[in-house]
């Protein structure tokens, strides 16, 4: 069961990686990176489930926040504005 879940999640992660690689615009890559971040959060949960260690949940929380901040930064950069606007 858990192997199946891991397989499906890995497949989704590879699809997101394909979009990061292929682009074609920087925005496509930014979207895919954002999605990859959320997928990784899900993956951390699965790892936590497999190993039985709570430690990965901390990784998941910090990863979700970092992915958010990173995406906002990229979006602002694409918009061509500074961060204080």
């Amino acid at each position: 069961m858990i192997e199946f879940i891991t397989g499906v999640l890995l497949l989704s992660i590879f699809l997101a990686l394909y979009r990061i690689g292929m682009g074609p615009t920087p925005s496509d890559r930014a979207v895919a990176i954002d999605i990859l971040g959320i997928l990784v959060v899900g993956f951390c949960v699965i790892i936590s489930l497999i190993t039985g260690r709570d430690f990965y949940m901390n990784v998941a929380i910090s990863w979700s926040l970092l992915a958010f901040i990173g995406t906002i930064a990229i979006a602002k950069y694409l918009e061509g504005k500074g961060f204080d606007e």
Partner: protein, 232 residues
């Protein structure tokens, strides 16, 4: 509880998979964004919730719920910022897009294209006069208006030819041969509407009517002329 948690996690992984398939297959940034953000947020939240159900009231389960809360707030915000940023950065919409309401460009109106110097004819003029006018001005149809400028009908080459099969052109008046069922459009209508009338209903010209009065006319030739000028 463990089974319920695992079922939620499996559903969540499938949401994740379908979201990334959308990311892979849809044509432009905005479509990819809307497909993948919603599906993947939902999927990951289901995984986190499933984990919370699976592990019960434990530190890990609480952390999963907190993480779910974070993602529910941050992911749509990030997606919105990205869409806005992409639009400002000039990323084009896919060709299949139907409308772009965020754009500054106005929809092309008929008033931009229409010919304002309409040659009209009174209903009591003779048919001979109408024929002379058509030949002289090199046009194919005349809106028939009364002295106030109110549209009564239209007389075209086709109407005259049809009238000739059963009437005497020499003695007839415009009123006898004109077509009363006229397709008209207001000047504020989008040009697309006009083009679809031309292509689907086979009309060659459409009088543009505002408050019952003829303010312009658009023939197929006017659109071609407009296209030529637009290119310059």
């Amino acid at each position: 509880m463990e089974v319920a948690g695992l079922i939620l996690i499996v559903i969540g992984t499938f949401f994740d998979l379908f979201g990334t398939i959308g990311l892979l297959r849809l044509p432009d940034v905005y479509n990819r964004l809307q497909a993948s953000t919603k599906c993947v947020t939902m999927g990951t939240c289901l995984i986190l919730f499933g984990f919370a159900v699976y592990s019960g009231f434990s530190p890990a389960g609480i952390k999963a719920l907190i993480c779910m809360f974070f993602i529910l707030i941050t992911s749509p915000t990030a997606a919105h910022a990205l869409a806005k940023g992409s639009y400002r950065a000039g990323v084009q919409l896919a060709n299949q897009s139907v409308c772009d309401l965020y754009s500054d460009k106005q929809v092309l109106k008929i008033s931009a294209v229409m010919n304002r110097d309409v040659i009209t004819i009174l209903p009591d003029a003779s048919l001979r006069q109408a024929i002379d006018l058509l030949v002289e001005k090199g046009i194919t149809g005349l809106p028939v208006v009364d002295s106030e400028g109110v549209l009564l009908g239209i007389i075209t080459e086709k109407d005259i030819i049809e009238y000739k099969t059963h009437g005497n052109v020499e003695t007839a008046k415009v009123r006898d041969a004109m077509n009363i069922n006229v397709q008209t459009l207001p000047p504020s209508a989008p040009l697309k509407e006009l083009v679809s009338i031309f292509s689907q209903r086979g009309f060659r010209r459409v009088p543009i009517v505002e408050d019952g009065r003829v303010v312009g006319i658009v023939s197929r030739k006017d659109i071609i002329k407009f296209l030529k000028e637009e290119k310059k």
